[in-house]
Subunit: 391 residues, 2 copies
């Protein structure tokens, strides 16, 4: 097969709120090859990512991402590897390229899955897809009481792991943060795994994070996520040396395999969190999962958007039994929830099961999506480089 | 002062060639504050960078770069630091943000320079700007003979350092590369510093680079640049352990301070090469220069575009006498050369001197630029988010 067409669609909620909720818009990628159609989603700023796909060439290492994809052969996973190598060579100086490639890569795997009638995880070499314990991923409440109520309701819904993050956490006093964390623990109960997400709030300031460690230990927190920027490796390393038994987690900011390895090798994280919609897709995420296994670090998805993105983000470590957690967004905006007709719902045990259907096992619901479509036009030097195609 | 306006302009040569020449287009940024006007240039894909500046908000950490800049106070370098912190917080998930911020940062320093009547290097705390030995930066010839001729002509023009890169280097055999490197050495003569730029051609393949080391040593090469991707730190480290007396150089791909530090701390480079038009501007480049000094690593600019960009890229290490080399592009396309009316020309010694004039000491020649202007329109959801402003 050859890649015949790559189309992309920008969707958004009618109003975008100024909160840490990444489910308010979406960039969907549709790939057609050999009569098959696959879908992927970029977890990225839609307009900037569209520009990376179609921008005019600046020089030999600064070409639009699509230039390395359209017309390329697609008969096996090796062809996807070749496309990655070409994009990295030809779009090296387009910083946004990895985010753009991510959604395309996911769609390419979906196409191969249709072609061979196999789920992606099987094409990745896994014998089976183990169930993952869903952790409910939520924003902190505005008060400890609100956090307690959210935590309690997640417990009642049967989740065996819960994560709170963002909101005001880390921006006021250690005591205020302690109150939030303790409220979360009280709400979920003693037997639920509790994770805390600092959302890089302390940049690279080790002391700010250190001032919260006692509270995290007292609340028996499973992991502390993103105390620092993805690149602040020495701060990660210093904190990891003090945080036991609380593990450090990070990696959602990694936009290539190198950065994820650095978090493991130099940062000392216990969990590496990978968003397939950012790091370069399923291909790169799988390489990170393989590497994590050799370093005794646990792989976990980062997903805060649709169930299409959720399926894509679980494929890379589906067959690794001991890496048993998965992020499960529970506060999706209607756009992200309606993006697929089918959903990956937790079973009575709070576990998520990947579909056995070909490809990602989920497809976008185009009728439901239509009202969210954002018509976009980009004209450069009198030439229309992008115009929202027909859905 | 407050930042009253930020405008940006996309310029391009009528034809963009598929070669490693980054001088074929340009994105210029104009900042107005308190009646002063400053200019900066992004070394980045223009359309993608424009999109990063003006894209609709996706969520609280995925806002357009301009949202953190327009209206912000600008009375001192501390205000520029605050703008950086705001952009990193508010545009954390816009991968292209660092490239966009770079040109804005440069223009902000230019404005402050106008305001205080001082060159930027003085505002950065340097007592004086030391001359830098210009190294002529060129693409390899298509044959060793052509490379020899180019090298000879650079020697005749008085350059005391020359760098060759890209072309076919690294893509065929070690013997072919040896012929090219030897031709370059023969052309420049024994007393000129010769550097070789592999342009990341071996990705992370240590053995490919290792196979060229003997030839590089035999030609008394000063540095080998970018044998690997910026992130391939363990490959850099392994090669650095074998390359003496050839130093490794890298860092142009760094789009934040962390990445540059990683090249130094984990990669073992002897030269850290920073493009102010990519890493986040003069502010971030200066932080890297300060750090390099403490680690006994030499700072050098990366510049392959206009003399406005050249001035911006020399400011961060202007006052460090022992960091004495500077990249000097000698094959600029007319757009990049005509971008400024004045130029930084090597003296009889082959040295470049930064201007004493306020700010960057160079301004764009708008009349000369006009024919290169690329009219650009971006419309999202029926709203025009960008339209090339009046030059």
């Amino acid at each position: 097969m050859k890649i015949d067409a790559v189309d992309f669609f920008y969707f958004a909620m009618p109003t975008i709120e100024d909160i840490g909720d990444g489910s308010q818009d979406a960039l969907l990628i549709r790939v057609a090859a050999g009569g098959y159609v696959g879908w992927g989603e970029c977890e990225a700023a839609p307009l900037v990512t569209i520009a990376a796909l179609i921008c005019p060439m600046s020089h030999s290492a600064c070409k639009p991402v699509l230039a390395s994809i359209l017309g390329a052969p697609l008969d096996s996973p090796r062809d996807i590897d070749r496309i990655h190598a070409a994009v990295h060579r030809n779009s090296m100086d387009v910083l946004q390229a990895d985010h753009a490639l991510s959604g395309v890569d996911i769609a390419l795997w979906d196409v191969l899955g249709q072609r061979f009638g196999e789920p992606v995880w099987k094409l990745l070499g896994y014998e089976r897809a183990y169930p993952k314990t869903a952790y409910a991923s939520m924003l902190f409440g505005q008060t400890p009481q609100e956090t307690f109520d959210k935590a309690r309701s997640m417990r009642e819904r049967g989740f065996r792991a819960v994560k709170f993050g963002w909101g005001d956490f880390g921006t006021t006093t250690p005591q205020a943060d302690r109150d939030q964390v303790m409220a979360a623990r009280e709400g979920v109960g003693a037997d639920v795994r509790l994770c805390i997400d600092a959302g890089t709030i302390w940049a690279d300031d080790y002391m700010q994070a250190h001032a919260r460690l006692d509270a995290l230990k007292a609340a028996n927190v499973h992991w502390l996520e993103e105390p620092f920027h993805t690149g602040a490796l020495s701060a990660y390393r210093a904190l990891a040396a003090q945080s036991d038994p609380v593990l450090l987690a990070g990696g959602e900011g990694a936009h290539n395999e190198h950065m994820a390895r650095h978090m493991i090798d130099y940062g000392g994280v216990g969990y590496i969190q990978i968003d397939t919609g950012r790091i370069g897709g399923i291909t790169v995420a799988k390489r990170v999962a393989d590497y994590a296994l050799t370093r005794n670090v646990r792989f976990v998805n980062h997903t805060f958007t649709s169930h299409l993105a959720l399926s894509a983000s679980l494929q890379p470590y589906a067959g690794i039994r001991e890496h048993d957690l998965c992020e499960y967004p529970v506060e999706l905006k209607p756009l992200a929830y309606d993006l697929t007709g089918a959903h990956l719902l937790p079973d009575a045990n709070g576990d998520i099961h990947l579909p056995d259907a070909p490809g990602l096992g989920l497809t976008p619901d185009l009728t439901a999506l239509k009202p969210y479509l954002v018509e976009t036009d980009i004209t450069v030097g009198g030439k229309t480089l992008y115009k929202t195609p027909t859905l």
